[in-house]
Symmetry: C2
Subunit: 385 residues, 2 copies
Amino acid sequence: MQNFIFHNPAKIIFGHDQISSIGNEIPGDKTVMIVYGGGSVNRNGTLKKVRDSLKNHTVYEFGGVQANPHYETLMEAVALVKDKGVNFLLAVGGGSVIDGTKFVAAAACYDGDAWDIVKSYGSVVKRALPVGCVLTIAATGSEMNNVAVVTKAETKDKLFFASPYVMPQFSVLEPELTFTLPPNQTANGVVDAFVHVLEQYVTYPVNAKVQDRLAEGLLNTLKEEGPKVLTDTEDYDARANIMWAATMALNGLLSTGTPADWASHLIGQEITGLYGLDHARTLAVMIPAIWKYALADKKQKLAQYGERVWDIPASDTETMALQAIDATVAFFETMGVKTRLSDYGLGDDIIPAVTNKLKEHGHVALGEHANITTEKVEEILKLAL
Amino acid sequence: MQNFIFHNPAKIIFGHDQISSIGNEIPGDKTVMIVYGGGSVNRNGTLKKVRDSLKNHTVYEFGGVQANPHYETLMEAVALVKDKGVNFLLAVGGGSVIDGTKFVAAAACYDGDAWDIVKSYGSVVKRALPVGCVLTIAATGSEMNNVAVVTKAETKDKLFFASPYVMPQFSVLEPELTFTLPPNQTANGVVDAFVHVLEQYVTYPVNAKVQDRLAEGLLNTLKEEGPKVLTDTEDYDARANIMWAATMALNGLLSTGTPADWASHLIGQEITGLYGLDHARTLAVMIPAIWKYALADKKQKLAQYGERVWDIPASDTETMALQAIDATVAFFETMGVKTRLSDYGLGDDIIPAVTNKLKEHGHVALGEHANITTEKVEEILKLAL
């Protein structure tokens, strides 16, 4: 096991009818801005419940944060924050809304060009407005971590930053809020959370038994519960298990003392930034291709994963690893998430654009061994066609 | 899954050579009191490393905190804190030292009779001095939770309290510090952590899949790694896995949305308070007896535990449950921890004393169903003879 620091002070408030507690979580003298997305939270009554809980607070609202939140939109929110003297941000939505709110929280307290926050991976952030969350999609884990991904629409740059100052103070997780999600968003969420676990687990063995078992437990949970909610959208227990698994998948516990990959995320981010393909779908395309390419590096953990998650019988390590890749692809397809670039109308003409963006962003040595160079990304993208 | 709130802001600093970071974790203007136990931390050089890290701080020391820390001793520490203007407490030791330090932290800020803190289960605590920890025994999980157990020697009362104000700000976990533990302390620690998991897992099913899998992962880790360190005391990976498993066993994650038992702890505390039997050994005695008595209530989870931790083949639920109990007893015995009261020279004459103490402390309805009355405790103690 490698040395590690784990520190996650986010408070999780989980279960039935928890939105009503928000008013008690935010000090009464705060001026709150509710940040949300496309309006579904308005139509399904969530926003009304949030407003009711905050009836004794001064509240402003900012809607219209899009999937893969745009820097340009978020800077409008920053202007409103400054204009109204907002000093608490409440994100009501999925990962995009929460990520966008984190950016607004940091940008509102930053004196220079706010894009510096992203360019510096968050290192310029020295303070931020406090953030609370009401989660409406089980997927990204942003509700319990200090990371955010933001897209500059003008230049098609999709990039992440991290800062302890944007860790949510609290997050309300009500599984019922996910009952009304469209099936593709439910499926994307399950695949996203599943790949978050894989990125921190399918690397090389470091004899971190608690972390491995936690990873396998989350994968088994998502594997079992994911397909259920595609047919029975209001299965509370399954929704609750998926929601807690997705949060636990990226709250830092899996990375305690273990290596992490993240190549699928970094390549996938460029594909989303350039072509708008859903984040989870980029991951479902990239991770099998990376695994095939890096089989020698990853086969031990792939075989363990295959045995403990997909019940693959013991045989030679490479065979088990290949069977684990096949099982993963089959699972994504069962969830209705296609796993080839060509399934989404993307061909080999994207390769130079993607690799150029990776170079531009300094992502030229990917994976847990930092040995996936730009040339190797080209080979991997060919495997993903 | 039941509703829950999870909030654990303790910072964990884990691995090789981490004590040197303490000086940076405690603000330079703090007056620190190092709290420790019987002196092994002095002999093995740990205390010297701690002092070196704090060379720029004003530092006092308080040694002599015993196992099952005595209220009477801790009140001497409170007097020193007040006399010297100490405003940061650093526990260097195992669960007893950390628990004792938590009590000192709360008592130093409480104006009434400090035993009120324990009598009120912590509800009178409205503030406390900040606490940091250097953990030297993997066992109680106190390094990452807000609970402490204190004993009043005069009356033989061993009781717990909990308060968010005594949650450690940080805890340093160096697996090497456990290399020199005597075998009985190593074994006690593994059994203690193992039972912490069982108390939160072997109850009744609530379809909390992440929590179940995490519990099973911790149990499997302790089962595999525990026996190793009895023979190879300096197996770093095994020590690290045990240490992280013990911390994860009682940091609140396993109790998210799940019922908990704690009858073994509440009965065991009285046995330790009255007769001085090691905490872990009371648990190893009590939990098999409680399981046999409450088999009807617990057999479903016992069978699941047997299958996933002890590889017990599928058969009828009750048979599997009984086999799981046998496997647990065998494991404790393998660790050198005996599982009957008579192994420790205790007979049925202890029964009235133990049940009287439980009544005196208001613990008259134990277990996850609150259906273990004083009369039933008598039956359970007979099963444990």
